[in-house]
Amino acid sequence: MKRFQRSVAIFLAGALLSAPAFAADYTIDNEGAHASINFRIKHLGYSWLTGRFDKFNGTFSYDEAKPEASKVSVTIDTASVNSNHGKRDKHLRGGDFLDVEMFPQATFTSKSVTPGADGKLTIVGDLTLHGETKEVSIDAEVVGSGKDPWGGYRTGFSGTTKLKLADFGIDFNLGPASTHVELDLNVEGIRK
């Protein structure tokens, strides 16, 4: 009996170790809006002003057993900026900020994913915003993964990063407390 248990254990261990690391491909669930690209920037240094991009799409591949092989790519419709204030959004879409007629899209494409402790990931990639491409690093973590009640399989992440607006050629002076914008990203993907 002991022998049997041991052989089962060896078999299972072998099965796990030799499991092919096939990364599953996911589509970000923008259709169901289980994903959001939010930003926040200090207003005068006295409070946080938050907003988001309503329209974006993207895909990622992720394998729990081999997170470093993960990839993510996202395209954002810059004109969909929404800070819950029409006149401000008009200003943000204009030449002082996003210049959406000239630069209708922002994109992020990962270059490397480095796993940390407790399911944390560091995602380094190229962000193209306002026509400028810069490398950014996103601190991300897996929120959860598993079957949904409707026959699909989902994996979700959250992540944060911080950008200096001037790095992307956005130099409208909002005051010394408002030179950087923080991004809060929530992504849920449906496995293809």
Binding site: H85, G86, K87, K90, G94
Partner: protein
């Protein structure tokens, strides 16, 4: 005296004409200036608030002006050639149409997200058309047609000065002094 007659413009038309001429040019200059203000300027919020409030008052005055024009006899323009008569009528209605388009597009920039326009504090003009996201398109129309308005107003002014100084006819003076009394 109040009403326009075949002999000339009454006091209502003349006051509205010159008041609107001045205020529209001031509004254009204010708009031009305010969009270039730094975020830290003391006028960054105040100038657009004035621009919006004055714009609403101009919308009311323009409605009164066009209504009054329709409700009154158009003064005779027998001293003008047929081409000048037709061109001036076309110019006047083009100005009315473009000015209304500028006013309405401007109103939408400020109110399409559901917010109201405050007129110097207590009076609030509510949002009547809820269309969030339309602000950028409205803004583009507002900007382009503002230039068109000033361009048309320039042609209108040039024509009036030509009639006054070159043709030496009463086109300009009757908008200032009113009807000749017989």
């Amino acid at each position: 005296m109040w009403r326009d007659t075949a002999q000339g413009y009454g006091i209502v038309s003349r006051v509205l004409h010159w008041l609107l001429a001045i205020v529209i040019v001031v509004l254009f200059a204010l708009g031009w200036w305010m969009v270039g203000l730094d975020y830290t300027s003391a006028y960054y919020n105040l100038a657009p608030a004035w621009h919006e409030a004055i714009g609403i008052l101009v919308l009311l005055a323009m409605t009164l002006r066009v209504g009054w024009r329709i409700a009154n006899t158009k003064p005779d323009s027998d001293h003008l050639t047929l081409f000048e008569q037709r061109a001036s009528v076309l110019m006047h209605w083009a100005l009315y149409a473009v000015i209304f388009a500028v006013l309405i597009s401007g109103y939408l920039i400020s109110t399409a997200d559901g917010r109201a326009i405050e007129i110097f504090g207590p009076l609030r003009v509510p949002s009547l058309i809820y269309a969030p996201g339309i602000e950028s398109l409205s803004g583009k129309i507002h900007r382009i047609l503002s230039y068109v308005t000033i361009g048309l107003a320039g042609l209108h002014t040039g024509a009036a000065l030509k009639h006054h100084f070159v043709d030496r006819d009463p086109t300009l003076s009757r908008m200032w002094r009113g009807a000749k009394h017989h």
